[in-house]
């Protein structure tokens, strides 16, 4: 009996082991091909009914699943795209966080698994997509954009893209966009971009101040570094929320990094032009300099260090998460404990919580800068796609104005209607549409893929909207007013800002290889020291410490990098 029991158990375990070795992934909607590079899709769906009138094609879209989108398969935007393009969309879901999705993609490629036809809004960075492109995982799309090898004749296949690009972007922005889309060395184009001009989403830092506290303490709106310091000090010391506890106020906080949450950059820009995305500033003589090595930068760090030491800038700025931040800016108690916060409003406050009414948009001074209009280089047609022509056509349809609006604001007639002629949007531009239901892009949605997973679009229409006051709640209308003021403040200051950064420098493969280690070491060193100087781990007031910082940067090859960057900058200027 025991023997048979042992044998039975062994057989069951063996079966389980073999089942565990089965390579099929439950979450993959499409059967993996025999190798990672053998094309299989899009495939024509096999309709088993003999008299099926129309054979529809299927396209597989790899997408980072957004938690606010409740049901991609039955989503209104999915149905809209299917009707528009004639394709049935099959989703291949990746992780919500881009870092996790990048890991998933990397492991799927390494495992030889079949990729979806299109990777949609996939933020993996130019180095990685160029590498995947060169290795043959992504299609080279240059023949779809151009009719000649010299890239001078624009192809009709991309007519929608070219028309929208020329209509909505300055010549400088167009040139930069194309430079980022094109690999300098062999002219290959692996990426389909998402271009956006929406100020709210492209402003690098968005500050908000507690007006209730200012009024209570009889303070004016800060207008320079000194008055900012005084206001923060008053927030710290004078118990502005009036609960008798002078220690529970947080004068200044933000989420360092991420959408519009660059607190340190906002503060540094009060002293000098500083765009951490580029880092190289151009002097009057045309020579470039690393912004983080200048004396003005050091002064900015000293100021931040002072705020940090005096508990005016919260140390949680470096590690707080979105939910915790919302609990501070818009707590359930209705008594906010934050004086100034920096970040994208929609992410940093709780939707519907009227505590928001304590805050107003804070004016800029110094430099107001935004991320480049060339917003995301993050969609790809993979080499596993069998019908690249069809996939490209599918993507091109996303560039129309109609799809742009539909992807952001939902269904016409339900979520929005055309604006009355001659009326203005909430940011003062001519209005295109009147939004009736903000839920399509701000809350859980069944009608869009949320702006995070929106279709490829040129988002010039992003802010050209009115809000239907009869259909909107008080919170949404107040948020609209804050945004309106914020954009106005930003644009005023942006007009005064003299942009002195080099913009994106595009390295050839050789240049990348030559300085890869140097760039990595210097960037990491600078980034780490920025935090250290701000939180006092290293003293920005100490000359010897600063001299050592500069010397070590040189030791890691900063001058080699500078020389190379100068050459690339000059080449791009031509």
């Amino acid at each position: 009996m025991k023997k048979w029991l042992v044998m039975l158990l062994a057989a069951v375990l063996a079966a389980l082991l073999l089942a565990g070795c089965n390579g099929e992934q439950g979450t993959q909607p499409v059967e993996p091909g025999p190798s990672g590079n053998e094309s299989q899709a899009p495939t024509e769906t096999q309709d088993e009914t003999p008299d099926a009138p129309v054979e529809r094609k299927t396209i597989t879209i790899g997408i980072c699943q957004n938690t606010k989108v409740e049901d991609y398969d039955n989503n209104g935007f999915t149905k809209y795209l299917e009707e528009l393009t004639g394709y049935d969309i099959v989703f291949d879901y990746f992780a919500t966080r881009s870092d996790d999705a990048k890991t998933q993609l990397s492991t799927r490629i390494a495992g030889g698994e079949r990729l979806p036809d299109i990777l949609y809004r996939f933020n993996i960075g130019s180095n990685i997509y160029t590498e995947y492109g060169r290795e043959g995982y992504f299609e080279d799309l240059q023949e779809y954009f151009y009719d000649d090898e010299d890239h001078t004749i624009e192809s009709d296949k991309a007519e929608i893209f070219w028309t929208r690009l020329h209509e909505n972007f300055s010549e400088e922005d167009q040139a930069t966009a194309l430079r980022r889309m094109t690999d300098q060395e062999d002219g290959a184009m692996y990426v389909l971009p998402r271009l956006e001009t929406s100020p709210v989403d492209t402003m690098q830092f968005q500050p908000y101040i507690n007006q209730t506290w200012l009024d209570k303490l009889g303070l004016d709106m800060p207008h320079d570094v000194d008055s900012l310091y005084e206001v923060l000090k008053a927030f710290r010391e004078r118990d502005p929320n009036g609960n008798g506890d002078k220690t529970d106020e947080i004068p200044l906080i933000g989420i360092e990094g991420g959408l519009g949450g660059r607190v340190l950059e906002w503060l540094i820009n009060m002293f000098m032009y500083y765009d951490s995305n580029n880092g190289w500033n151009v002097g009057a003589d045309g020579q470039i300099v690393k912004a983080e090595t200048t004396d003005t930068y050091r002064k900015a760090l000293q100021f931040i260090n002072k705020l940090y030491k005096e508990d005016l800038l919260s140390s949680s700025t470096f590690n707080i998460g979105g939910a915790a931040m919302q609990g501070l800016t818009t707590p359930a108690s209705g008594i906010p404990v934050v004086g100034i916060f920096v970040g994208h409003l929609t992410l940093h406050v709780e939707i519907g919580n009227m505590t928001l009414k304590n805050y107003v948009a804070m004016p800029y001074w110094g430099n107001a800068i935004r991320t480049e209009n060339l917003y995301s280089m993050d969609s790809f047609i993979t080499s596993d796609c069998e019908d690249v022509d069809g996939a490209f056509e599918f993507m091109m349809k996303g560039y129309t104005k109609e799809v742009s609006i539909r992807s952001r604001y939902g269904e016409e007639g339900v979520d929005w209607v055309a604006a009355d002629p001659g009326t203005t949007s909430y940011v003062g531009t001519p209005a295109e549409i009147k939004v009736k239901n903000e839920g399509a892009f701000a809350g859980n949605t069944t009608t869009t893929w949320n702006t995070v997973a929106a279709t490829i679009l040129i988002d010039a229409e992003g802010e050209q909207v009115q809000f239907d006051e009869d259909a909107m709640d008080e919170w949404t209308l107040y948020k609209r007013d804050i945004f309106s003021q914020l954009v106005k403040n930003f644009k005023e200051q942006e007009a005064k800002t003299v942009k002195i950064s080099t913009g994106t420098l595009v390295y050839t493969e050789d240049e990348k290889t030559t300085t890869e280690q140097v760039r990595s070491n210097c960037s990491n060193y600078i980034s780490q020291h920025k935090t250290w100087f701000c939180n006092g781990t290293k003293d920005p007031y100490d000359d010897a410490t600063w001299a050592k910082y500069l010397a070590e940067l040189d030791g890691y090859g900063l001058q080699t990098w500078r020389t190379q960057a100068q050459l690339i900058y000059e080449r791009q200027q031509k």
């Binding site: 993609l105 390494a110 990685i128 290795e135 949680s316 590690n319 280690q517």
Partner: protein, 326 residues
């Protein structure tokens, strides 16, 4: 007489066994204990599939691996990937951070389950014993993500449990421990001890329960109190298990798992929280440079193996050949 016959039979069996060599011997034993061998098949297959066959893939550490070109088609680059690691200006801090976390975990975490196991073992109240065991096992089942989530909630500078407790006591200081370079290692290690301490006692409790009651009785007659019996009976009895566990732990000294550290990382604690495995995860997996990950992993394995051999040698020497693993 019957006793003598039995002895002769046993002696004859031993002689027969000694005469059989190789396959004959194996086959005889297999037939006798075939059930055990069948049970061994699965673990052996598992080890071959997941631990031996992948050794073939080590070569990607010396190639610019691309799945597109395959294992043999990818360009051979020698030690370039390892040179890249040592070219990183922070490579030494990755090693130091890994070692400090690992050694700290070892020093603080290794004796704790032994002490807990002894406390549970000497306790005579069965119900209390069972409750203690169950309560201390439960944290083991909390996933790493949830564990770090709990830590973040506890140590949140403004709304955390610690902050609320401080407020209750009238302490106005609000330390942000999750973004504190000095606190990182302590939080990492002690939360790990709390989580794993109970589960790790299982082995020691099992060993302690096998200690002969006669030894304890003899010690009692000799006048040994409870503490002395623990010192002179229990600890020597589980010493072989302790030494084997210690040797095995040294085999992982350079292999601190990346998950918990990665989840606890932020820009402030990065100087102490960036360890080899998180660096490899970022460069090797996230950025898709598998060769780099393999090269650094191979180096790690080499160091771990060396340490195991070294510690085993030291243990064998110290215990006159009794305590070594091999």
């Amino acid at each position: 007489m019957a006793k003598l016959e039995r002895k002769m039979q046993q002696y004859s069996l031993v002689l027969t066994s000694n005469r059989k060599k190789g396959w004959d011997l194996f086959w005889t034993r297999f037939k006798k204990n075939w059930q055990l061998h069948v049970m061994m098949i699965l673990p052996v297959v598992w080890i071959i599939m997941f631990h031996y066959i992948p050794i073939y893939g080590i070569q990607i550490a010396f190639r610019e691996y691309s799945n597109y070109y395959g294992m043999w088609g990818s360009e051979y680059v020698g030690f370039l990937k390892l040179a890249k690691f040592f070219g990183n200006y922070k490579w030494s801090s990755y090693v130091v951070n890994t070692l400090s976390i690992s050694l700290y975990s070892l020093v603080a975490g290794f004796p704790t389950p032994i002490i807990l196991a002894l406390i549970i073992h000497v306790n005579d109240r069965k119900i209390l014993k069972k409750i203690t065991q169950n309560v201390s096992y439960i944290p083991h089942f909390i996933s790493t993500v949830v564990m770090v989530g709990i830590l973040i909630r506890i140590f949140d500078q403004y709304t955390g449990l610690l902050a609320s407790f401080n407020r209750l006591l009238g302490i106005t200081d609000r330390p942000n421990l999750m973004a504190n370079v000095d606190a990182f290692r302590h939080i990492y290690v002690w939360s790990g001890i709390w989580q794993g301490m109970g589960w790790s006692t299982i082995l020691y409790i099992a060993s302690l329960s096998a200690v002969s009651e006669e030894l304890h009785e003899a010690a009692r007659i000799d006048g040994a109190n409870r503490l002395k019996r623990v010192w002179h009976v229990d600890i020597p009895a589980i010493l072989p298990v302790i030494s084997i566990q210690l040797i095995l732990r040294f085999g992982h000294i350079m292999s601190v798992g990346y998950e918990k550290v990665y989840l606890m990382q932020n820009s402030v604690n990065l100087p102490v929280s960036e360890i080899i495995s998180t660096h490899v995860y970022k460069r090797g997996i996230q950025d898709g440079d598998l060769s780099y990950g393999a090269a650094v992993g191979l180096m790690n394995t080499f160091i771990n193996t060396t340490l195991v051999v070294l510690v085993n040698w030291i243990t064998t020497k110290l215990t006159d050949g009794e305590g070594g693993l091999f």
